[in-house]
Symmetry: C2
Subunit: 450 residues, 2 copies
């Protein structure tokens, strides 16, 4: 689909009109923008960081090719000298960021970009777009992983994600947050994520009888078949699967599992489990799917519903109960001067910052301090790392597997009350005295100037 | 970002495992799949069709390149002869579809694909993904257009859409449904949509005083400036804008408008309107933005809040109150035999179908009939057209402008009670006697076989 490399245009028009105004007024000094989330959506008390890899790749390749410049010229909005300047515009700044797969909390800066203001401004739209989507989904997926306890959860969402890019990023973000795999084959290839899949109703209905469909399917996958048993009647389907499983056993093969995708999933799982157990087929695993989210998974976990794994789709892939976060990318410093915004309900903290994380003696997460960038909090881990300087990524990023492992470790260190999927306790985030002082000083200055 | 052409892999693994089972069992006859939405999300009583252009482009280019085949080989799941077959697989089927920008209703087939079952099956994931996203957003956008009455509504959502592809498709789908433009510059270029933009808070806060920011901005855009006035205090911002507007007038320029993005948007608009009117600047237009959706717009319309236009972002771009539809792509015919599925709550209608639309004498939409494909309903317009045969698009599709005009005409013919943004009346969709007969016959046959 995407052919030309006009990704530079993937921005809001006002970024470019402001860029021209900055350019023509010779206001092109260095600016720092800070990315943070202002509030928790309902039932959220943490976020999982994701999307940084795409942001850095975008910044490294950032430019306006001739198709882009030609288009801007055609709008009759931009001056020739400005468009000449844009032809050679690259991102030359630095980026500090919390690595992917870390927990973060509201009001904490996740990414801070420092660059000549035109560069730092134009890239806003892309940076918000990717960090918002990927962190949103990683957070939703972490909730599913938590709710499923030790059962495997896999991503079935591709058909209902918002487009192609979302389909890819959802597969990656959910794997980062502890999912076991994805049905998305392209994501499996691109990100080296395990791919998983069973069969669909159409395979069954294309045969005249369900049992014939099962027989034909296991012929092709004698050691790897998960049969979908709810096309007509789930319990009859289970009995057909038992029959086929026995035929397989007589050939030295083994039915791997069945999937239930509709109806009263809790009751059906118990009845289907009984059918297989009675038939001496305790090894057959049951997968549940069909509109599931973390609330269902938690209910099934609490009630010991005998599912061995889950496929979650739509509601995870669009973060159904919270399809966006109130994420913002705000100017916090211009030409060495800390700045802020006072808009109702949308105030920001001035200056470059750091987030410092403290653990207790048992290694559990204790609290975070948001500080000025150069402050030092004893025994705390500073979370924002310098990942890009002069427009170049400084060191290879951790692999997805490494980030996933880091996430699972840290997630294990967050107290359970803060992981509750309903009304979680909120983690303590404090702002340092020096940062508060700075904010007060800048507020006084703005009030004076206005 | 996307480099290799491995879009063939943009599918669920089970499509490929089923394909292998079809292949190895020599069940490769022609199949028809039908795409439809099973239910209305809350407060919905219609949908707007969108996404067909991308679907047809995908089908025309559908193939597995060598990177894709190599990856599939590496999974140790597929047989060599099957992968050889996949190397030359193309989409050779036919597609019937409701054109973009038409109203459609629950249970009505939007797209019907007829092709050898392996082809028709594998493309399911992509087809659902695109039609779901684009129709979802076109529907949400139509609700905003309706709620805003005659005021212009523009798309500001790119930063919060779910990824890049969604950002592009949201701009297109909202324009299709009557939006006046988008802030997304790349979508402006790609789809020839008018691009719009004002300024951001950072432009103001990068200056020491708001009024200096306004002065610098209008210097660059003397005839086209919309000043953002809520960075510190909205009413003080309005007075600064009046001052700058007067300076402009003395130079023979004209301030175009202001934007309010936070606070009590209704009250502020009235006070800001008064400030400009008192200053003799009735021509200055007021744009509202900041978390708006159709519910806010309807409230403002009812109360005659003096906004001239709106920028809507997040809640439209993710369809915030309904971020997915219950859309399904179901096998309805295999090898000439009509089939269905009986899963609880997810039953389907067998056979190839047509949707016939009737208008009353005044031209208002009256009701639809879902019929068998070859039925004829007197005086009704058949909505599904044959748009692809033997894998080739039959005729150039309407332009986006043409589809937008067609939508606005048809939307105007839908009774207001059915366009209500809360608890709309439902449009009448009936199933023909012949279709009901067929369904009963297939149900009996399935029950007999099982």
């Amino acid at each position: 689909m995407a052919t030309e490399n006009d990704l530079g245009l993937l921005t809001d028009l006002y970024q470019l009109t402001m860029a021209q105004a900055y350019f023509q007024n010779r206001r092109t000094e260095s600016a720092t923008f800070s990315l943070f989330v202002r509030a928790y959506p309902a039932n959220r008390g943490y976020f999982v960081s994701a999307g940084l890899e795409d942001v850095l790749e975008f910044l490294e390749g950032f430019s306006f090719d001739s198709t882009a410049i030609d288009y801007l010229y055609s709008l009759n909005l931009f001056a020739d000298d400005f468009l000449d300047f844009m032809k050679s515009l690259r991102f030359t700044g630095e980026v500090w960021a919390i690595p992917e797969g870390r927990l973060f909390f509201k009001d904490e800066p996740i990414v801070e970009v420092t660059a000549p203001i035109i560069e730092a401004q134009i890239v806003e739209t892309f940076i918000i777009n990717q960090i918002n989507l990927q962190s949103l989904i990683a957070t939703k997926a972490a909730r599913c992983v938590h709710a499923a306890r030790s059962r495997a959860v896999v991503d079935f969402s591709l058909r209902r994600t918002h487009g192609i890019d979302a389909g890819m990023k959802v597969a990656r973000a959910s794997y980062l947050a502890g999912f076991a795999g994805t049905s998305n084959v392209r994501a499996g290839r691109r990100y080296r994520i395990p791919v998983v899949g069973t069969m669909a109703h159409s395979f069954v209905s294309s045969h005249e009888r369900e049992i014939d469909a099962f027989r034909n399917f296991v012929k092709s996958f004698p050691n790897n078949s998960i049969l979908l048993i709810d096309t007509y009647n789930t319990l009859a389907g289970a009995r057909n699967a038992v029959a086929v499983g026995k035929e397989m056993a007589s050939r030295g093969e083994r039915l791997r599992g069945v999937r239930i995708d509709s109806g009263d999933l809790a009751t059906l799982a118990r009845e289907v489990r009984k059918i297989f157990d009675t038939a001496g087929m305790r090894h057959v695993r049951i997968t549940g799917s069909g509109g599931l989210d973390e609330f269902d998974l938690a209910e099934f976990s609490d009630a010991n519903v005998p599912y061995d794994s889950y496929g979650v789709g739509t509601k995870m892939g669009v973060s159904g109960d919270a399809p966006w976060t109130d994420i913002a990318y705000k100017l916090v410093e211009y030409d060495g001067r800390p700045v802020l915004k006072l808009s109702t309900g949308k105030t920001s903290w001035p200056g470059r910052k750091q987030v410092c994380r403290l653990r207790d003696v048992k290694g559990q997460l204790k609290n975070d301090f948001v500080t000025r960038r150069d402050e030092n909090v004893p025994d705390a881990e500073p979370l924002l790392k310098e990942v890009m300087a002069q427009g170049k990524t400084l060191a290879p990023l951790p692999s997805l597997e490494q980030s996933r492992a880091a996430f699972l470790e840290e997630f294990g260190s967050l107290p359970d009350a803060m992981k509750s999927i309903r009304n979680p306790e909120h983690y303590s985030v404090e702002f340092s005295a020096a940062l508060k002082e700075l904010r007060d000083a800048v507020e006084r200055k703005v009030a004076g100037a206005e």
